[in-house]
Symmetry: C2
Subunit: 464 residues, 2 copies
Amino acid sequence: MTSPELQADTLPSRDEAAYVLDRKTVTSILYALDTENRDKLVELMEPLHPADIADLLEQVNAFDRGRLLRLYDKEFDGDILSELDESIREEVIAALSPSTLADAVRDLESDDVVDLLEDLEEPQQEAILDALEEPDRLAIQQALSYPESSAGRLMQREVVMAPDHWTVGHAIDHMRGTDDLPYQFYHIVLVDPRMHPVGQVALGRLMASPRGTPLSEIASEEFQIIPVDQDEEDVAYAFNQYHLISAPVVDADGRLVGVITIDDAMIVMDEENESDMLLLAGVDDESSLSDTVINTTRRRFPWLAVNLLTAIVASLVISIFDETIAQFVALAVLMPIVASMGGNAGTQSLTVAVRALATKDLTGSNVLRVIRRESLVGLINGLAFALVMGIIGVLWFGDMTLGYVIGTAMVINLVVAGLAGAVIPVILDRVGVDPALASGTFVTTVTDVVGFFAFLGLAAMVLL
Amino acid sequence: MTSPELQADTLPSRDEAAYVLDRKTVTSILYALDTENRDKLVELMEPLHPADIADLLEQVNAFDRGRLLRLYDKEFDGDILSELDESIREEVIAALSPSTLADAVRDLESDDVVDLLEDLEEPQQEAILDALEEPDRLAIQQALSYPESSAGRLMQREVVMAPDHWTVGHAIDHMRGTDDLPYQFYHIVLVDPRMHPVGQVALGRLMASPRGTPLSEIASEEFQIIPVDQDEEDVAYAFNQYHLISAPVVDADGRLVGVITIDDAMIVMDEENESDMLLLAGVDDESSLSDTVINTTRRRFPWLAVNLLTAIVASLVISIFDETIAQFVALAVLMPIVASMGGNAGTQSLTVAVRALATKDLTGSNVLRVIRRESLVGLINGLAFALVMGIIGVLWFGDMTLGYVIGTAMVINLVVAGLAGAVIPVILDRVGVDPALASGTFVTTVTDVVGFFAFLGLAAMVLL
């Protein structure tokens, strides 16, 4: 326990940048590095949380990162590795001396080691497994045998449990007599003689109850069991939906094999949200700010290539009407407006649908209503913008017919945008494709093609 | 404590839809509603979690929702209100009988009542405050006096605390003697005589330690103090970054006034992520799947109107070159490709930057490096697609010059896209505007204008 005076340091400042590594600290650290002042470096890094040190390593360039790791090596803490972005983990592990790496890994909880190992290449995995003691190594190899992104990978195997017939006094005495309680736990899991979890007792309730109280009497009402092969996305959903703090994990026979805590679920939820957001924008969800230029270029290229293909399809539609355009250049001037409005309206519907699918708010019970709603919204906004754009068309080019044409095309494209934006992610979800992954391209292809075709086709019919 | 047999019901099925209200349940509930079978309805709803009942109310249409609330009224639980989406909260509150509403609200924890009240209109706020007992009402009015979206609104005022000189035995006896411990708590906050928090003890550590141990000896190493006026977004960031489970909240004088727990931080983080995702797509972040068609149309309209303005700006650029287009219709066919590629590349850079700003990974220390990286990525991908598109242009239209023109325009637009995608959100963030809110429009306006201008301008110079 530090004294009150020391604690004052941890009081965050009230400005916006409350929790960021401030620029001054980073500059001082880089100066210590330039002057190879190891004592100063260690002194500056000492108050930083491992998560902040990881951020620091991500934010400096590769050259400074290498120097920093060499100078700081012996002080390196295992938790920094857990916090590091995957894109530079291998680089950092390779830069650490073997003895530092071994010490660092030995300090970690089993779920953190699993999380660390699953993204590494074979030789680095071996190096880390070799650093562990026999029982830890076996436990981690067992965890790695569960499917990727499953509850089995996420859980910690250390569970505090008690037979369901015990009293509060039994449980407290048992815990006082146990040497290696997990670092963090919030519930005692009650198990029957077959090791099936049958309830859990919050530590706060345990604390507040007389020693003679049977545990079963103070078990929480809220209690969710997680199957070991459940997808981590569903685990995170359950924690968020039911406000769970920790939940027991069971194998196929219903036997207790581990426990998942809310902090791990929170990380998964944040990653899933990030992934949806990036995928919707056509960015690989494994990309990171610390990727090199070449890696970033490689990751972005395929998405742009797909976009090029769809843009060419839209151009082919335009080329059907090249003679019409040659006669009425106003069409070339106005046609991007119809496509752009459709693309935007489609993206709106799409994003709402993708998010609602992720939060399980869009289900079989309301899918038809949502699709109808999106189409109707497209229709009403389409009519409004048809009026605006029709007037602009007439005023700009002094041609009433052109106003009709752009207005009608606008209505058609906005209805199609609403419909496509809602239907496409639902279909992708049903066939097991991540709706965030592919919807955007489909929807804008549809709105580009329909937009150009409706506008230019109508113009060809009416104006020629 | 229910028996093991009953618990088997709570074991989720292993399919994808693990935690969704399944369609069969919804259909049965609607059937009970049609037949006005109240007993059956209550029986079907009984096993549902309040969060699931809230989802049910959101997913059925307004007519069924009204009928359901009338038939279920007396059973209505306050937690359902907390879980309900804001878009239908007022409607549900209006549909409940005054006595049900009063009972429902009295059961809630203070932070949940605050969350409920802050989005309601004056008369409904009054009705709920009147239902509360005097001390609760005062406590909630005090909480509402903190700024919106601040830690003060998020915290619960019930804190389990202990003087920092107490032992484990003192703390346990004190808790056993306290009637109204909070429903959930995970730490005991240690305070000095001035009521300043100086540490916290995890219940697990408390449990496992002999009665004579001083609390200060088993205080957690990780300990963050949250100022009461801190923005909830920063609170959520701290919980996620430092893996906090609960954290004490202090007033301007550093005195303990409440505690925030990770489940509340998780909800804020999810909302912030949702908000960024929706704003990036030009969707009002308060919109909801249960909004009516008219409300949805109204919420989407302004964003589309802004898009229309920017699309018109792009059209004005095209109209400068209308004579060139009239002579070379191939330009009209190809020009959307340049704009579309720029828009996509810009959105990629932009989304990465917005996310990195939200996670505080993009800071003063690396902002120049990130901007340089995005521009370089744009340059390299631009060169690659210039080559591809140049060849396509030559093959399609048999015109070497056209190939050069589209290739050069592509390089220019992709570099600008990377630059604008990284710089615009950073500038917005610096001037205090949410970068997710306005970046998208700025970036695509830039890429449209630059794309059309570069392509058509080069064509006018070279081809005429």
